[in-house]
Symmetry: C2
Subunit: 667 residues, 2 copies
């Protein structure tokens, strides 16, 4: 940063008393860099193995040749690497780099006038026009001199080149040396003779692949038991692992496992009056037994938890914990740190409310507190505690009621030591708030998918979620249902609706989840509400995990397809196709590198058979019109051969409302 230039904007300061010392300011402009999120205020996201492809307008005045590179390095490190950028068209340049480790990386674009290339160009043009170029060759030699002056280690290369030029007897041969690919390659490391412009520094978070590709199974661990009226235990959960693994899930998410408060404890079905038998709501965290770093004793001990984490890993499953940053009135913080909450003028702590509703069993944290530093550090300590217990994935409850900047700090702090930790944002709120949380660092986000039912709104919303703009920073984790959302279409649609909703979640996005009971077709509501009747939130439950009518075969099949088909493991490759019948959703995912194509047909009508035409965009599928291709339906195993994009299909939801088709150009 030199005097007279603004560090932030690169603008020269016209009010500075004098022009800056040294060489003139860079004449190259680097603008319109893609991708960027809010002008670089937030980073982009990738997964390990991905290339980070960059685009920018790079140009200068006049006709000089320029060169451009990407500089990239792990954040906080000075191990800078370089990747070449190439001119594409219309002053647009492109280049790419591939980070070789998870974590935050930084990068910037550098571009400069390539004086050697400019002089070569002049020499060639003049020589071709029959103009004497002896003076231009001397000018080229002056540039070579500058290369050596600035880079003593270039002396040998330059000397060799000079000798070759000198030894050639004719101008034509000299020109051939000057402009030869060998000479250009030899001088390439020292092309930059000054005047380089630097873009701002951007950031990319490189996550592990599971941030993008995962199947979540959500459960109350206390519901894993087999005795009515008693809490299930971590040991009971271990007994559930084979079934969950068989279905193909790889993330097992628990509602909070901490001690539950007794003050104003809720009874069954959210009643205000409870008995000693009622276990309370797991989100009323904290009692005399401990707070966010303690385990509810009826579930087991910390050792039991460690055992469960290990057992799960054996089944290819990782445990995700729920982070609900609030306390019951009995939380230790209420005593040790009342300043973590809102203390009212009468000395009481303010409980949660949404007037006229009151939640007297919950104290929300106050992030406006003067003790905000202690609060932030305590919450960081909680996360680090569970990371130390082997937990690498967290589902964060209601993150939108805490400052976005807090999450940005917390996630960065945790990633500084544990870049493999994944945070899922459970924010069901206004779209821009949800997007801001994703930008702030959440690897995955709950979405509105749970409520999108009409074809047009599913298409529109999923196109947005997987668009090239949004997918830079947001990965929509599509949940069919949650313990808070028993959507009306599941209440009314019967098993075919469960099947359709499942397949859409599991194939439109590479990351999705279900809340346990879904596989059984459970949707008994509190009448008129999107709540489950006799919800696990308020009581112990015992389930028959193989009850008739369950769709576990379908879940298993689709999860196997997800593992077998790279196309289903990518997030941003969703493309919709058209079908004449508006009740049929048609979409594909293609992985061109893997020559893998999946086409899904999903009936949004759970009752009536569909007999309609679909119209495939063959170019999107990488198929050629007129050439036959093989079609395999992965649930039924049926196969046939299609030619062209217009196909007649008959789908009977009573049999199977979904077709998951693998399209292949080879047998």
């Amino acid at each position: 940063m030199r005097y007279g230039f603004d560090a932030t904007t690169g603008k020269i300061d016209p009010f500075a008393a004098e022009l800056p010392e040294g060489p003139p300011p860079p004449s190259v402009l680097i603008l319109n860099i893609w991708p960027q999120v809010d002008g670089g205020r937030f980073g982009i996201k990738r997964e390990i193995g991905d290339e980070v492809e960059l685009w920018a307008d790079i140009f200068k005045d006049g006709h000089d040749k320029i060169a451009a590179q990407i500089l990239f390095w792990p954040a906080g490190s000075d191990a800078v690497e370089f990747a070449e950028m190439a001119f594409v068209d219309n002053d647009r340049w492109s280049g790419a780099f591939r980070p070789d480790a998870i974590g935050r990386w930084q990068y910037q674009i550098i571009a400069w006038p390539d004086l050697l290339a400019t002089k070569r160009d002049e020499i060639v043009k003049k020589f071709d026009a029959g103009i004497d170029i002896s003076l231009e060759l001397r000018e080229f030699d002056v540039l070579l001199e500058q290369v050596v002056t600035g880079n003593p280690d270039a002396a040998e290369t330059v000397d060799s080149l000079r000798r070759q030029i000198a030894q050639r007897p004719t101008m034509g041969e000299k020109v051939a040396i000057v402009t030869g690919l060998d000479s250009i390659a030899a001088l390439r490391p020292w092309r930059d003779l000054g005047g380089a412009a630097y873009s701002p520094v951007f950031e990319v978070m490189v996550d592990r692949v599971r941030a993008r590709f995962a199947a979540w199974y959500s459960m109350f661990p206390r519901s894993a038991g087999t005795v009515e009226g008693q809490s299930g235990t971590f040991a009971d959960v271990e007994a559930r692992l084979p079934d969950i693994a068989q279905m193909g899930f790889d993330v097992l998410y628990f509602t909070p496992i901490h001690p539950i408060g007794s003050t104003n404890k809720k009874g069954k079905n959210n009643t205000l009056i409870s008995t000693d038998e009622d276990p309370g709501v797991p989100y009323a965290i904290g009692s005399a037994l401990g707070g966010h770093d303690a385990i509810e004793p009826t579930l087991g001990t910390l050792e039991d938890f460690h055992h469960l984490v290990s057992e799960s890993a054996r089944w290819g499953i990782e445990i995700a914990l729920d982070i609900a940053l609030q306390g019951s009135p009995d939380h230790p913080w209420a005593t040790t740190h009342p300043d973590f909450f809102t203390v009212r003028p009468d000395g009481t702590i303010k409980f949660a409310e949404n007037p006229p509703k009151k939640y007297e069993d919950i104290y929300p944290l106050s992030f406006d507190t003067d003790a905000w530093r202690e609060l932030w550090l305590e919450l960081e300590r909680v996360i680090r505690f569970w990371v130390a217990q082997g937990v690498k994935t967290f589902r964060v409850d209601n993150p939108h009621t805490k400052p976005t900047v807090f999450w940005e700090w917390l996630i960065r702090r945790v990633h500084a030591d544990h870049p493999d930790v994944i945070f899922l944002s459970e924010a069901f709120t206004r779209p821009k708030v949800m997007h801001a949380l994703a930008k702030a660092g959440f690897a995955q986000s709950y979405t509105y998918y749970t409520w999108r039912t009409a074809r047009w709104e599913i298409e529109q919303y999923l196109q947005e979620l997987t668009s090239v703009e949004v997918s830079q920073y947001m990965r929509g984790n599509l949940f069919t249902n949650t313990h808070d959302i028993n959507p009306y279409h599941l209440q009314n649609g019967g098993i075919p609706m469960f099947k359709s909703r499942f397949v859409m979640a599991a194939t439109m996005s590479s990351v999705y989840g279900i809340y346990s009971g879904f596989e059984l077709g459970e949707a008994t509501p509190v009448p008129g509400k999107e709540e489950y009747l006799n919800s696990e939130k308020y009581e112990y439950k015992v389930w028959d995990w193989d009850r008739p009518g369950n769709i576990k075969y379908l879940i298993e099949t689709v999860n196997r397809a997800r593992r077998d088909h790279p196309a289903l493991q990518e997030y941003d490759n969703l493309r919709f196709h058209s079908a004449d019948d508006q009740r049929l959703l048609t979409y594909s995912k293609v992985d061109a590198d893997a020559d893998d194509r999946i086409l899904c047909l999903v009936s949004l009508d759970p009752v009536n058979p569909l007999n309609t035409w679909i119209h495939l965009d063959l170019a999107e599928l990488g198929l050629v019109d007129g050439l036959p291709y093989h079609v395999t339906e992965l649930i039924s195993g049926n196969t046939w051969i299609w030619t062209g994009g217009h196909q007649s299909v008959q789908i009977d939801p009573a049999i199977e409302p979904v077709w998951v088709l693998s399209l292949s150009t080879t047998t």
Copy 2:
């Protein structure tokens, strides 16, 4: 800027050893600010009288109410003013301010949690739900206490409010005081109780209106004479002023008026051999008589120039000079400052070339020179010299061959003292380079209009030029022709083509120009080239300014329409309508505030009559389907009444290839 936060991005630094002292970081986010050019790297442009309307996504976590304001001030001043922003929808806010002086202004958005409003909201909701609110009223009082603590001058207002609340006997009446519009208004100046977030600072250049609304007449002053083979003089130019003013032009632009070099002087029609009678090319600037701050003696003296500037002003015309930053081999700089040029290994100064073409009468300046500081300051001195002579508009020759950052600096330097100075960029080069020059500070830009002839390409290009994105920083000055461009369509199209090209330039953009001779229908080319035969660039010329076939009546009429109709004075209000015949261009400009509507029909076929339907977008015109409107054709004076958007028109280019229609809903 507090420790632990990044000044540029607002990001909290997770690697900082400790969290910053003081209150927590702002929880409000201000994102997606519109307008902005390259993320604020460059400013936007407006003209005096305009409002600067801003949009932004502004939100925070939770359900707190927030407030937002625009802060704006003249750049370099600390006289900050405020403008309120209002919530629109979906976390989008909007506000506006109106700078009251020309020059550069800066602005930023500030937003904060409005704790008073949040508490009022809570009080109302709870009171309406029948909940006791005595504690909430105490909390409101605590906030009032904070208001006074932070703002002692609020004491009187707050005391009065407290008394009113205390005096009211019922809760309902107390609530009415707390939430009354009077109370809200009284406390409004002290709403900000801390925690405000600040956006980056943006800039707007507020130009005088002539930056947007001007009609340029371009000429060689030496061609104003009446004696063959002799140079016209400034006095001769004065004699031309009545005619130029009668046509309605308000900017009179001269090619360079400086002494011309004799070394390698060009002869007629760009021949390499010249005689003593040949005057040379005005762009070969500089001789023993002086350089860029001198006047070619055959034109007159500096006093004559002053007289001409004054006389022009009397006719409502301002003089624009040509800034061509290059020298002839005889320029004083070649002796005093050879380091302003490229000195070759043999000691010679490099002349201009575009291999294999050579321009041996021109030395280009070198902006890579070690003497760049002296060069920049000398060039600034030249501009300031002419500003001191009363020149406020400059047409800059080939700015794209000098660094953009130089222009950014130069224009800012000049504007620091003379914000009324207007620079026109004569860059005919790649689009991104042209756009960058506009962003760097040029008030107006030459465009590709001169070469756009097909309806689709005119529509597409003008839509881009006047789009909401581009018009933030670029004002396209549409030239029908220049002394360097005698376009083929004028060479071949005859007078109807001149008329069509003129009307398009003068009505599609609010700023346009012609090069003298155009009004006479002059288009004799060097055969096969876009050059004028016997070009004024190389010789003295004498013209008959009233020669038969001229289109001065049309120019006068259209320029009068431009002055009479506010719709033609705006830049970004161009809208295209459809016509069945692809040879008919149909577009409108509307100024809704002035209830002014202009509709233009332009035949792109200079020969054959058109008989076709046009289809007007009535909503764009602010007209109601089914209601009749009055139509006046401003060239012929014909009037009629139309109803609806579908109209049959008959246009015969032999009579008049253009209709300029004023549409009115009243008589």
